[in-house]
Structure formats: structure tokens, C-alpha cells
Symmetry: D2
Subunit: 410 residues, 4 copies
């Protein structure tokens, strides 16, 4: 870029603090600028001399237009950059229900603060893809559809600050196997680490949520999942109709999708058995009544009911039945999921891309996530949505649960 | 099995007709008996002397118990076996809303007839996992939840007959590449066949439905899909919130999940652009109003709106927003899907396992299905649900649509 | 096809016997004729009245040209059809070393007999893609490159008979999970069946060969594989350089591809450790000397050496080193593999597509094959090469071996 | 770590220069130290103020033992760290043929220099997993097996320096889609970039090598590959027996693995056609003679022969035949591959994991690599071996080649 071009560029100075280097944020910031494309000048970079002390960066950005500069600021904010001087955030009143002003600030899943009346106010209910609502000096994340006309909505990037590096401090402990998603890894090592993390979480009074698909049942993992429930390692179960249906199918007829779990052979047309299971529970009035009446005496749903695990079944377009507990109103189901995920410390995702993406949208970046699937593409996809927080394990889910239950019992 | 055991076995005689051999049904019947385990004696097998004439089978079954025999009959019924003499079907009144008697007959997706008052009555609204309701001499498939107390429900296997081989007559024409699901195939050959089938369907006045996931947009297939719409090859589009959101994101900002489709580079934090797209449509009052007002001027949803394609967006737990048109009440969404699928002749499933399974549950076995996905496991899974009717193509969806649009234009 | 066309067709009568229906051969024969395209007329079909008795088929084929008819006969021969009257096979002398006459008969992996001097002579060394050499009244399968000028080579289809259905009699016992390749299955059930089959094979004095890739080591399966060796369930190990290198890397440094198997963390640049392992073995003079000298004290190669398991390492273009035992001359390696596979009853293929395809080319169709891989496409591909004989298990190889060793110990 | 522990630590000071931040090396260095575990103190970090100027780092390392420290130095050297003062490299004479001293320096694929007699000497024939041989003041990479007794081998880390960041300067141009491997991308964008890169490489007189598996033929890519040959974009073709066999099978019989490429239907038992192709070429005396004699008139091998493309076919354990040109001596094949790859600027890997890994082992990190496969796990695996240099495209190979040929023609 020649001098003339440069002289016509607009500029802005941004700041960032924290573990800029080992979090990868410094690299991400500088690469983002170059690829934008824009230019940078490092005004100051104080690197913590040891791995315990934070770093500080002051960076001058030059972009060809104000529009380009604003887009760059938006991009950099997810890596913790904020504008020096922190002018008061721009807050506009919503002009209608269920939608924000065009230039609303859309959240990431990282801890977010807003500069209001001379102080940084940290947002509550942090989640991604939300708007920031200012009310009585407090800031809250809210979904577009929950905006009401007159709500004060944070707009633009000004006065908004993101702290993306909280998780990375834990990396040496948590970040095993995080370099790449691969099926060519020793799962027993991963299981030992996950078991250790779950044990520490429970010792600290933390809560663990599982997201699980029907593959848990098909691969024979149900009995081991029940063991985890009995051992107290499951506080919340988020799933859909299918997991419950196939779990109950096994409990009532010994088959999963019509395959006998003991022999591996098909015993009858599969849909028949799963439809009989649905019908039986509908006749009983639901899973709870089916346990109470003695119809349902084993399996995951039985264990959850008996041990007070909060379970939420969200409906989907593919659902048969559904079971009475399955929530076919998805607004209600999303609210129930989000409510159950409050104050959860660890989420274990087992072979359910649909529900896992749903949950990933709802949780802040400091919740630890373990994602288990036999398909590496699924693990990669889920990990990409929150790279620093997710550990992926590519393996057979049934055998993983067997190993995990053994590790947590021992 | 020794003689004594045999003498204590119960027996039944079943019949089957049609293209028993080239459909694979004869093999399936005999193998099912052996694996049950039970025994068979072939009383009569008239094989059509040429490939144009049907075959007839009369088979004696021997099973160790009546329960085992009934289970075997259930299994065999999907291959077209029915009990000789066809005693009147057993019909019971439902004793409650939303559930059937325990021994209800659960349907397959094959054409099903019930022996009532001395004649075979073919069920309407054929779909799998339904109950058969008898009303005024007619038989209809109905979902469990739609049963009302007092409805007459067909129970057991007696007097029920399934005709699974209708599709197979078409096999030599339709069944290209049907031997195995593999990515090691020439897609251009498959495209030519699919294009030919679509052309014939349209020439005969047939209707074509597409089931499509957001990967259609991410892989750059949207413009080619629009071409199919303009050429009149899309009567119905069944999808979810994500396809529409990312399509509109491209239309408004040129990115899909934040990736610039023209350059392949990320242009800004992706969630921002897709959230802005959702917000813009919510502000406009929906996709229709967004087209009318001139906000939305291109892309799949625009093309569908302009060309009168019926589109239905079913909600899911992972949805952001959602768009006003997205149906978050899944009972309503399932009903809308089923309604739109009536009188459809061909379904093309593009990279959406969730919606494709949903659709697969709703359509009878004589609707032709083409399933395209880059993941062979998805194609296998969808094809397994209706093997004779589904052709799987393992390939890149964007490039597939490019080829298909070119083939249909030429 | 009109009458005139028909009258100009050439025809031939073929026979087939055996379990035509439950093996699927009858369906395959008739479908092949229709898809060829040609026509058939069933002259006689005696179906075994029970599942224990064989069937007999006499079929008239009509094809538009003699060339088409010969191609059809070739296709049908793999399903057991042979030409009535069995004229003496056509045998020609090879006119050069290393190649056959143009119309040579290329073998399948099914038992093959040749009509010579009024009797059926069964070929020795049955394998696929070989030529049939007649010498002193005996028939042997031989590779193209091993033909010598003057060898008598069977040409055309005449007087050649294939018996493809031997395996299928075992199907009800062996064929668990054979319907489809899927990761959505309970692996513990498959393990129990495989363990049972291995136990029976050993009780009958049978030999078991393993084909294994380095993933066995990376996934932590090595210690369980050693257990199988100690328990006497491994007679032959067929692999490449990489398995041995990474096994020895673990034995010497505790890492596999540089990943510490105990902690799952990278401990140093991986290539360094595996190169050090190679160098150490090269300095010792080979795996055997490394065991004898006390350098190598654990791992798969150590166990094989100590328990007299015959192991053959075939080289590949990707090999580093290689280890002294790795055979970089592939003609010699193929011969060594084939030699080791003689009289083997069961082959277990563990995560090595390359070596597994090589082995699959060498073994006859009556050797039982279990194929384990976490990638369903690999399992499908291997099973497609010999569908009736192969059982596929889609799972984590390390955990599979853990389960298998536990099952065989118990 | 308390003060006493610290005082017992050994320390060393290392340097690094270059684009430390945007290459990710600074982050990798600091993270490696922490995860080792060891400690660091940043003595100096001069960050280039703009994205055009290099950075300089001076770092004090503290490790609990000398052994730990040496392991850490080894790990850091791949990120460009070298020991201050650069003492003369340690060089030892090899004590035997075919193996190095135990502590030999094993190379990476990055440009490597050795401090000899007061100057940095850059190694020739850079490749990974080699030893550094010093001869007449020059340094050369050599494979273990090519070491001769008395050769001078560089040992330990001292006086060795790696420059890993050469590639990253190109990143903004080259690094499209490099963030993640995903099938959910627009391939047409990737094709445009690859075409552009190939065009620039050829304009600069660069050489392009293709590594290709038989899937290129099965997916119908052969005609488009031939187009690339005709257009002058293929200087070297590295493959195995199978690509050539199936290409010639198509040329002679129109089928690939027995599947008719024009109709997608199997035309005869596939192994027959491919065996006939092999036999025909063996009779002709090889691919070259088969072209000259007029037997082979089309396809990839024909095009390579006619346009002077250097092709090398490396044998494997799965090979049938083989073709006369297939090198079954893998030492010779590896040497031929390496020789052909000299002075190559771009390598395009098409659906051949085996040969691609082989090639990846041979090329230095500044050769640009494009890796195309429909299986994301393959692309991830190949990209992991040289992350900065490889661009992965997950798509159908046949359609990719169609698009690429169209883009390069236009």
C-alpha cells in the first residue's frame, strides 16, 4: 500500500489484556488485521515475563474506510480487543417486539462487559447470538424473540468488551488431546481425564449435564449411563424423543430399533417394537406414571426418574408418538433447556449433533464441554463452535460409557 | 430339531405373490424363517417363467410356540406374506384418546390392505409407524396421537396384507448404483439418471419435493437450486430454520456462516451476519414481506416465494431466532410436512439427515427418493429405512446441484 | 423385445444347484439376466422343501449376440451357474512368460472346479484374480506374473463351475449384524460372537490370522493384542512397517506417534521418537535380535517373537527406515503373505485398509473374516469384496481389543 | 513450584526470529514450555511494529533436569528456537552402515541450518525424518538406510536451527479455508484459488506434481485430469498400480472396477475386466509399448505418455499383476518418487492417503500442497503432517477435477 493510500486510511487504537499469547489471541488479532485486510502498528506489547502474569497490548489499526474499520473492530472484539477510552456504549430503545435495531450488538459466548456510567458491567445469562439489554444498570443477554418494544438494546461495538481467555488458563489441565480431532487416539487415556474432571467437578459441588442421542442405547451404553446416574454424576439430561423411546423399547422388549441387544440380531420389524413402547407409555400417561405403575422398571429414563435427574426431551420433526413428556413446542423446549443449563459446570455430549448444537448455543464459554462421537466430522463441527472449551473424543459411545462408568466406580 | 420337538410345534400356512425373486422377497422370507428360528416347508412355488410374469408361493411355517409364530408372521408380513384364507381382520375400539390397544397393527410404508367383509380394502394415507383405522368400510393410516376414543383400530396380523414389491418392477430402470453406498462412483452418471427421472416425472405431471439442509447454501448450491426452481422442478421445499437463515444471510451480506462465498474467507464473526439476517426478516415481518418490500431480492427463499413453491420450515432445538415462518410447534410442522408430501412422486434429500428422516417416516414406499450427502453413513442410514425406493449418491452437494441444473437446462 | 428380435437371439442352457434361495444366488442370477440385459426362461426350479435340502435350477438364457451371451455366462458363473453338458474346458498353452492368452478365465474367490476328462477337478490354492493352470490332471490358481510359457491355461467359461454358496449355510450362525454396516450397534454383542467363533476355531485346531494397522497401537490396543497372543489366539500377524515401528516406539519410549499413551499429551516431536525406535532396531540388527539382546521387552512384536507367532511386515511407499524385517520387495512380501495364509480359518482385520485388501485378494471365500474399523466406509469397502464371508464391526479398535481380550480370558 | 525447586532447575537461553506471532510460533513456544512442563522468562521480545517486519525473541528456559531441558529444546527447535551463542554442532562418525548414533538429530521438513566453522550451513535435500550428514563443509539430509559407516552425522540439538515460518508469509494469499477441515464449504471458491495458484506457478516456470489414487478414475475424473495434462499443468504423476490399472480398464472396456462409467451399472464381474486390462498390458510389454502399438488410445496413462509427464507407479501389497511399470521394489520406488519431487513447487493430492503420506514425508515445508478427498478424516490427517503448507478440500474428486479443468481452460 503506498503512502497516499495510507494517508487516506481511518484509524483507531484498541487495547487487549490477559493471556494474550498462550490463548492464541495475539496471533488471532494480528492475523485478523492482515487478512481483513487492514494494517496494524503495535504501540505497546508488554508480555508477561512468566507464564503466570498477564500481557498487555496497545494496537493502532488502519483501515481503508470507516465501514471496514468497524467490521474489523467487530472481528477483533471476540479476541478481547476494546477501544481505548471506552466511550459509553450506545444503547437504543427497541422499536418493536421481537426484533432489535439493525446495528444491535450480537453476543459471543465469552464473558462480556459493557461500559455504562463509568464502569464495566458484566452481562448476566451469557450466551451466544443474543442481544444485550440494559435495565436498571444491569446488562442481560436476551434472545431476539424475547425483546419487547422499549427495551434498551446495546448497539455497535463501542463500549463493549469481551474476555475470551478465561478458559485458556486451564488449558494445560483440560486441554488434553486438543490439538486435533482424530480416531487414532487411546480412548482410555481420555476416559481417565474425563473421569477425573467429573470427580473434581462433583467434589466442588458442581453440576454435570449430559446431552445424549439414541445411539447411547443402540450401542449398549444405557446400563453404564444408569451407573453414572446412580453414582451421582448426572444432574441434567438433555435429549429428544428418540433416546427415551429406544431406552424404553429396550426396557420393555429387549430390542433397540428392533435389534436384540443381547444377540445383535433383528428380532422383529423394529418399528413395531418402538411403536409398542411409545403406545404403552402414552397409555400409562407418561414416563413418570409408567415408572410409578411398575410398567417401566429399568433403563435410562427409569434411573433418571428414580434419582431425581432433571430430564428434558425436546421434540423434532422426525419424532414418532411422541412420548407425553416430549416438548413439541420448541420455544418452550429451548427455554427449558436454557433453564436446566444454568449453573452447570460440565456438559458431556454423547452422539447427538442436533441437541449438542442447541446446547452449545446456550452455554457460556467457561462451561467445560466433552464431546463424544464416532464420527470425527461431528466432533470437529461441535468443537469449532467453541474451540477453547471443548474436548473431542472420537470413539464408540457404548464402549466409552462402559469405560467411564468403570473409571468412576473404581 | 428332533421329531418330538417338531410334533409340538404350531404351524400356519402363508401365501405371497408378485416378483418374489427379483425383489429379493423370497430370499428374505426363507432367511427370516431360518433365522427366527423356525422351519418352513414349501408347499408350492410357481416361478414366473420369464421376467415379466409374477410368482406365487405357498409356505407352511412351523414355530415352537404360538407367540413365536405370531412374531414370525409379523416379520414376514413386510415381505408380502399373508395368511391363507384371510380371516377377517381383528378390529378393536380404542379405549382412550391418543393411544391404541396394546396389540395394534403398526404399519410399514408399503401398500397395505385389510380383509374386511370379504374384500381387501387398501389403506389410505399410507405411511410407516401408523395405526390402521377402520371407518365406514374405509381404512386409513393414522398417527397414535390422532386416535380418538372409540376409533376402530386394526389389531394383530390377521387379515392384513402388505405388498412390498411394487417398486422393484422399476428396479432395472431406477436402481442404478443401488448395490452399495460409496463415494467411489462417478457422480455425473448419477446426475444424468436423476435428471432423466425428474424430467419424466414432470412430463407425467408429477410433483417433486426437495428436503434440504443449510449445507446447500454453505457449499454454494443455492444459485443452482434457484435454477431448478425457475425450471419448474421444485414443487415443495421441506426444510428448517437454518437453510432459510443462511440463504438470507448470503442474500443480504454475501456470507454463509460468516464465510464469504466468493472468496472462501471469513469476513466477520459469522454469527453476527446470520443474526443480522434473522433480525432483518423479523423486522420485515417474515420472508414473504421481506420479498415484497424489496429487502430480499435473491436466493432460495426468494425464488420459492416468486415461483409459488410451497415451503415449510420446521423448527428445531438449535434454531436461532427463529424466522417468523419457522414452525416451532412441531405437531403443526409434522402435519404441514405430511400435507405437502401428499401426491408427491419424487423426493430429493440434500444433506439434511434430520428433516430427511422426518420425511422418510411420512412417505409410502412407492415414492422415489434420491438421497445426496457427502457422508456415506448418512446415505446408508437413510437408504436403510426404505431400501428399495432410495438411491444414494455420496458427493458434494454444491457440485451435485451445479451438475443437476446443467443437465436439466441442456 | 418383439418376436423378430427374439428369433435372432442366441441361447444357452445353464444349471445351478445348492442353497440357491437363502444364499441369494437365485435372485442374483435372475436380476443379472434382466439387467444384462438379456432374457430368461426357467426350465426347472426344484426348491428344497425345507431349509436343509438343496435346490436345483435349469435356466434358458437368450441374449442378442454371442458376445453378450458369453459376457452373461461369465457374470452368472460367480453365482454358481454352469453350462449344461459341461463340455471339456478350453485349455491353451501360454505363449509367453508372465501373461495369459487374452480370453483366460479369471478366478473369483469361490471354490472352482474344471471339467477335465470326464470329471470335475477342484482347483487348489483358490484365490481371486488368478488364472487356472492345468498340470498332470490337477488344477491350480496362479498369478499372472507366475505363468510360464507353455503352461496350460483355462480359457473362456466353458467347463468351469463355481460353488459360491458354501459359506451361506453358516449364515444363521455367523451372519450376525450382517444386514448393514453401522456405527449404531452394540459392540459388546459383536465381541461375544467373535470371541465365540475364535474359541470354536481354536478348539477345532484352526488357525487365526490378524491383519493390523498402527491404529491398534495409537488407540491403546497393544496390551490387549498381546493378551490374545499369550492366550493362543494369534497364529499369524500380517502387517506393515508402521505397526511394528509404533509398537516398538511405545515399548522404548512410551509414546505412539509422539503422543504419551498414559497421558494423551504430546511429549516431544513425534517423528523423533519413532525414528529413534527405528534406528535402535536397525542398530540391533532387527526385531528378533532386539528381543534377544534385551532391548525390546514388551509390546506386540515382542509377544509375537516370544510366542512363535509368524509375522510378516510388508513394505509401503510411506515407510520410514524401514525395520530390517520389513519386506520392501513386494513380490516377496505377497508370496510370504499368501504362504502364511494357507490353512488359516479365521482372519481378523483391524484398521488397516491397505493390508486388509491385500489379504482379501489372497483368501478363498470360505475363510471367515471379521473386519473392525472406526470408519464405516472402510468396513463397507472390505465387506463388499466378499460379502458373504465378512462381518463388519464399526468401532474403536483399542476398546474392541480390550473387550475381546476380556471375553476370551473369562 | 517453590523457590527451592526453582533453584535446582537447569536453564538455557534460546533465540528465535521471524514472523513469530502471525506464524503462531510464539504461542507454540510458550505453550510448549508450560505443557512440558517447564518455565520460561521472556528476556526480550521485539515485535515487528507492522505486519511486514520480523520479530525477535530471547527466552530463558528453566527445566527440572538436564534431560528434561534437552527434550524441551528438541521440541522448541521445530518452532525456530536455537541456543544462543550457537556452539558448533556435534558431529559423530557413524559406527555402522544403515543406522545412526543413538542421539542423532532427526529432521523436520522445515529449512534447517547447522552451525559449522563459524557459519550457518543450510541443509540440502530437506525432508522430514532424515539425518544430517556433514561432508566437505556441506550438509545433506539422508535416510537412515543410506548412512554408510564413517559418515559424519549431526547429533543432539546444539548448533542446529530450524526456520519454520517461511510459508506463513504467504498465508494471507494461500491460506484460504485453512481454519478447519469441513465438507460444508463452497468448493467452487477453492477451485478458483487452486486454479489461480497453479497458473501462477506455471507462469513462474514452476513444476506441479499430482498424487492420485484410483478414485480419480472411479469418480469419472480421468477425462478432466487428461485435460490438465494437455494444458500443461501436470509435470509429475505419482501413484500406484491401481490408478493405472483402472484407467487402462476404462480405456479398454469402458468400466472401472467393473462399473460402466457411462451408465453407472455393473457390466460384468469387475475383477475380470481389470485383470484383462493388466494381462493385455503385460502382453504388450508395458504401458509405453501399449501406447506405441495402438492398444492404449486414451485415458490418464496415455495422456501422460503422450505429453511427457513423468509418472512413477509404486507397488503395494494389494496390487494385482502388476503392470510392468509398477515398481515392486519399494526402496527403488521411494528413490524414484523423491527424485521426481525435486524442484516441484506445488503438489496436488487426490484421494490417495497411502501415496500422499509417502510424498508428504519427502517434501520440504515450503512446497505448497493441496489435498482433496471426500473423507474429512483423510484431509485432516494429511494436513496435520504439515499444517502450514497444506490446504484441504473436502469434496468429490471427480467433480473437483471437472471444475478445475474448466477453470484452467477458461
Amino acid at each position: 500500500m503506498d503512502r497516499d493510500a495510507k494517508s487516506e486510511m481511518t484509524s483507531e487504537i484498541v487495547q487487549a489484556e490477559g493471556h494474550l499469547i498462550d490463548s492464541g489471541n495475539l496471533q488471532a488479532i494480528l492475523t485478523s488485521v492482515v487478512e481483513h485486510p487492514a494494517e496494524y502498528e503495535i504501540l505497546r506489547l508488554d508480555v508477561g515475563r512468566t507464564n503466570e502474569s498477564p500481557s498487555r497490548l496497545s494496537l493502532k489499526l488502519l483501515a481503508p474506510s470507516d465501514e471496514s474499520l468497524q467490521a474489523l473492530l467487530a472481528k477483533l472484539s471476540v479476541f478481547g480487543c476494546y477501544v481505548e477510552g471506552a466511550p459509553h456504549a450506545i444503547v437504543r430503545a427497541a422499536d418493536m417486539d421481537g426484533a432489535a435495531p439493525d446495528d444491535f450488538y450480537s453476543t459471543t459466548n465469552h464473558r462480556t462487559s459493557v461500559w455504562l456510567d463509568g464502569r464495566w458491567v458484566t452481562a448476566a445469562d451469557q450466551r451466544m447470538d443474543a442481544v444485550l439489554i440494559v435495565e436498571d444498570g444491569r446488562v442481560t443477554c436476551r434472545k431476539l424473540r424475547d425483546i419487547r418494544k422499549g427495551d434498551f438494546v446495546v448497539c455497535g461495538m463501542q463500549g463493549v468488551r469481551v474476555q475470551p481467555d478465561l478458559q485458556s488458563r486451564d488449558k494445560p489441565t483440560f486441554g488434553f488431546m486438543s490439538n486435533e480431532v482424530s480416531s487414532e487416539r487411546r480412548v482410555e487415556t481420555a476416559v481417565a481425564r474425563v473421569a477425573d474432571m467429573m470427580r473434581r467437578a462433583r467434589n466442588d459441588g458442581g453440576r454435570i449435564a449430559f446431552v445424549a442421542g439414541p445411539v447411547v442405547v443402540h450401542t449398549g451404553g444405557a446400563e453404564y449411563f444408569c451407573e453414572l446416574v446412580r453414582l451421582g454424576y448426572v444432574q441434567v439430561l438433555l435429549s429428544g424423543n428418540a433416546l427415551a423411546v429406544h431406552d424404553i423399547e429396550v426396557a420393555l422388549s429387549g430390542t433397540s430399533l428392533g435389534i436384540d441387544l443381547a444377540t445383535g440380531s433383528p428380532v422383529e420389524h423394529g418399528h413395531r417394537n418402538h411403536m409398542r413402547a411409545i403406545n404403552a407409555v402414552r397409555r400409562a400417561g407418561g414416563i413418570g406414571p409408567a415408572v410409578t405403575s411398575g410398567l417401566l422398571t429399568r433403563g435410562i429414563m427409569h434411573a433418571c426418574h428414580m434419582h431425581g435427574v432433571r430430564y428434558i426431551l425436546a421434540g423434532s420433526i422426525r419424532d414418532d408418538g411422541p412420548l407425553p413428556e416430549t416438548m413439541m413446542d420448541l420455544i418452550a423446549a429451548q427455554n427449558a433447556y436454557a433453564d436446566a443449563l444454568e449453573a452447570v459446570d460440565v456438559v458431556v455430549m454423547l452422539s447427538s449433533m442436533l441437541h449438542s448444537i442447541g446446547v452449545g448455543n446456550m452455554i457460556p464459554s467457561w462451561v467445560k464441554v466433552i464431546c463424544v462421537d464416532i464420527n470425527p466430522a461431528v466432533v470437529t463441527k461441535l468443537a469449532d463452535r467453541g474451540s477453547t472449551q471443548t474436548v473431542g473424543v472420537v470413539t464408540d459411545v457404548g464402549l466409552f460409557l462402559h469405560q467411564l462408568a468403570t473409571a468412576l466406580k473404581g
